[in-house]
C-alpha cells in the first residue's frame, strides 16, 4: 500500500519535472513578449509575474517589417497548400485504385525524397533559380517548399484512399456516374480528413521552413517570417521583447493546430518529419 503510494508520487513528481522542462521555455517566451521594454532591461526578473502590456506587440506591428514578412509567409504557404492538395490527391487516387508498372518504384522514390536534406536540394535550386530568375520570387520558394512537402502528402493521400472502401465508388458507377463524377462527388468527400491533413502539413512545413527561404530569398522585401525574424537579432534597435512577441505570433498557428486539429495531425505522424 505505502509502496504503491510512493510509486504514484514519484511518477507524479517526475512528470512535473518533465513538463516544467517542456513548458518553461514557452512560458518565458509569452512572458517576455508581454513585458514592456523598460522592465526588460532591469534584471533580475520575477519568474512569476502579474502585470502585462501589449506594448511590444503594438511596436512590432507598427515599427518593424513584421507584417511584410507575414504577408510573404502567407502567400508562399497558401501556394504550397494548393499545389500539394491537388497533386497529392490525384496521385493518391491513382496509386490506390489502379495497378500499373512502376507503382512500387514511384512510392519508394517519393518516400525517399522525403529524407533528402535541405542543403542537398537548396544548393542546386539556388543555382537553377538564379539562372532562370526565380530567386526572390514567390513561385520559386513555393516550388522549393513543394519539394519537401509533396512526398509526405502523396504518402498520406495514398494511405488515406486505401481506407476509403471501393464499394462506395462502385455503387456510384452502377447508378451511371462516370469515373470523374464518382471521384468528385463520392470519393473526395469521404477522403476529406486525409485532404485536410495534407493541407495542414503543407502549410506547417512551408510556414516553418527556414533553410530554403534563407538560401533562396536574399532580398529583404521577399523574406518570410522565419528569415525575417532571424535578422531581428542582428538589429540593435530591436530588443528581446519584440523578438519574443514576434516568436509568439509566429507560433500561433501551431498552438491552434495542436489544440483544435489533433485528430488530423495524427495521420501524418505515423511517418512525420
Amino acid at each position: 500500500m505505502t509502496r504503491e503510494f510512493a510509486w504514484r508520487w514519484m511518477r507524479f513528481l517526475w512528470l512535473a519535472v518533465g513538463m516544467l522542462f517542456v513548458c518553461f521555455p514557452l512560458y518565458w517566451m509569452a512572458v517576455t513578449a508581454l513585458t514592456p521594454r523598460t522592465e526588460l532591461f532591469r534584471p533580475p526578473y520575477d519568474v512569476i509575474r502579474f502585470s502585462y502590456s501589449l506594448e511590444n506587440i503594438r511596436e512590432l506591428l507598427s515599427a518593424t517589417q513584421f507584417l511584410t514578412f507575414m504577408g510573404n509567409s502567407l502567400i508562399v504557404a497558401l501556394g504550397t497548400v494548393v499545389i500539394n492538395v491537388m497533386a497529392s490527391t490525384l496521385a493518391g487516387y491513382a496509386l490506390s485504385r489502379f495497378e500499373f508498372r512502376g507503382k512500387k518504384t514511384f512510392v519508394a522514390a517519393t518516400l525517399w525524397t522525403y529524407m533528402f536534406p535541405p542543403i542537398l536540394l537548396a544548393i542546386p535550386l539556388y543555382l537553377v533559380f538564379s539562372y532562370i530568375g526565380l530567386r526572390n520570387s514567390y513561385g520559386g520558394l513555393i516550388l522549393a517548399h513543394v519539394s519537401i512537402s509533396l512526398p509526405l502528402n502523396v504518402w498520406i493521400m495514398w494511405q488515406y484512399f486505401q481506407v476509403v472502401p471501393r464499394s462506395l465508388e462502385e455503387a456510384a458507377w452502377t447508378s451511371g456516374a462516370s469515373r470523374l463524377r464518382a471521384l468528385i462527388e463520392v470519393l473526395l468527400p469521404s477522403a476529406l480528413p486525409g485532404i485536410i491533413s495534407a493541407a495542414i502539413f503543407s502549410f506547417a512545413l512551408s510556414w516553418n521552413d527556414f533553410a530554403f527561404a534563407f538560401i533562396l530569398q536574399t532580398d529583404i522585401a521577399m523574406f518570410t517570417l522565419p528569415v525575417g525574424l532571424a535578422t531581428f537579432v542582428e538589429q540593435s534597435a530591436i530588443h528581446w521583447g519584440l523578438i519574443m512577441a514576434s516568436s509568439l505570433i509566429v507560433s500561433l498557428p501551431t498552438f491552434a493546430l495542436v489544440f483544435f486539429l489533433q485528430r488530423y495531425l495524427m495521420h501524418g505522424f505515423s511517418i512525420g518529419k
Binding site: L26, I119, I123, P124, V146, S147, P226
Partner: protein
C-alpha cells in the same frame, strides 16, 4: 471494348500521376542530379562557365582537416541528440502511458515543441540561455548552483551540449508519440502473464515492454538519425557553426563553402558525401521497415 477500357484506364493513371511526378522531377530529382554532377566541375563565382575537373573537388575535400572535423561533429551531434530524444521519448512515453489526471492535455503540450517553427525554438533558447539577460542563468545564480553566468551557446565547451539539448527539446516529442502508440498496442495479457509468474514492475519492463519497443526505438534512431545528421536550420539560427567552429557540422561546413566561398563545385562534392550517407541510412530503412507496403483493410 476491353481495349478502350484499358486505354481509358491508362489515360486516368497518367493524368493523375503526372502532376506529382513532374513536380518531383523538377524540384527534387533533377536538382539532386545536377548537384551530384556539379561535383565533377569547377564552378565558382570567379568562373561562371563550368569546367570539367574530374575528381579534383573530391580530392580537395577529402584532404581538408575541416571536412573531417565537421564530419566528426555531425556524428557527435547525431548520437547526442538522438540519444537524448530516445531517453526523452521513453521517459514521457512510459509516464503518459499510465492513467493519470490531465493526460491528454499533457500529451498535447509535449507535442507542441515539435510543431513550432525552428526559428521560434532557436530564438527562445537564445533568449532564456542568454549570458547577460537569460532567465536560466539568473535562476542558477540566485540558487547558488553557479557563481558566474554560463555562456551556453557562446562558450567553446558549452555550445555543442547546449545545441544538443535544444534540438532534443524540439524533436523529443516525435519519439514520445511513436513510443506511446506502440506501448498502447502491447497486449495487456502479456503483463498479466508476467505478473502471474511473479514479475515485478522492473522485470515487466525488461521482459515485456522493452522487447516490444525494440523496433520502434530502432525506427526512431534511424529516421531521426538521418535528419539530425543533416540538421542545418537550428544550428545556423543559434550559433552559425560557432564559437570558432565548435558547432560546425557537415551541412554548415558545406553551406559555407557554397555561400561564403561561392565555390559550388567543391560544395557539390560535399553534397555527394551527404548523399552517400543518406543512401546508407535509407537502404537500411527501406530494407527493414518496408514503408511501401499497402495498408491492410478489412472489407
Amino acid at each position: 471494348m476491353a481495349n478502350t477500357n484499358q486505354a481509358r484506364e491508362g489515360a486516368w493513371i497518367s493524368a493523375a500521376i503526372a502532376p506529382s511526378l513532374i513536380l518531383l522531377l523538377i524540384v527534387a530529382y533533377l536538382p539532386i542530379l545536377y548537384a551530384l554532377s556539379l561535383a565533377f566541375y569547377d564552378k565558382s563565382a570567379f568562373r561562371p562557365d563550368m569546367e570539367w575537373v574530374g575528381l579534383a573537388n573530391a580530392e580537395w575535400l577529402l584532404a581538408q582537416k575541416d571536412f573531417w572535423a565537421a564530419m566528426g561533429r555531425s556524428v557527435v551531434f547525431t548520437l547526442g541528440t538522438v540519444g537524448f530524444q530516445l531517453a526523452f521519448g521513453l521517459f514521457f512515453g512510459l509516464l503518459l502511458n499510465q492513467a493519470i489526471a490531465g493526460r491528454s492535455v499533457m500529451r498535447s503540450l509535449v507535442i507542441l515543441p515539435y510543431l513550432l517553427p525552428t526559428i521560434v525554438i532557436g530564438l527562445v533558447f537564445r533568449w532564456i540561455l542568454n549570458p547577460e539577460f537569460g532567465v536560466v542563468n539568473q535562476l542558477l545564480l540566485s540558487s547558488g548552483l553557479i557563481d558566474r553566468p554560463i555562456n551556453f551557446f557562446g562558450g567553446i565547451d558549452a555550445a555543442m551540449p547546449s545545441i544538443i539539448i535544444t534540438t532534443g527539446w524540439q524533436y523529443g516529442s516525435f519519439a514520445v508519440l511513436l513510443i506511446l502508440a506502440r506501448l498502447q498496442s502491447i497486449n495487456p495479457r502479456l503483463y498479466e502473464a508476467a505478473r502471474s509468474c511473479g514479475a515485478g514492475t522492473w522485470r515487466c519492463f525488461v521482459d515485456v515492454t522493452l522487447p516490444n519497443l525494440r523496433t520502434t526505438l530502432l525506427l526512431i534512431a534511424l529516421l531521426r538519425g538521418i535528419w539530425m545528421f543533416n540538421k542545418f536550420d537550428l544550428i545556423w539560427i543559434i550559433t552559425q557553426g560557432g564559437p570558432l567552429q565548435a558547432t560546425e557540422t557537415l551541412p554548415i561546413y558545406i553551406y559555407e563553402i557554397a555561400f561564403r566561398d561561392f565555390d559550388f563545385g567543391r560544395a557539390a562534392a560535399g553534397c555527394v558525401a551527404i548523399f552517400i550517407i543518406l543512401l546508407l541510412f535509407s537502404f537500411i530503412y527501406f530494407k527493414f521497415f518496408n514503408p511501401t507496403k499497402e495498408v491492410e483493410v478489412n472489407r
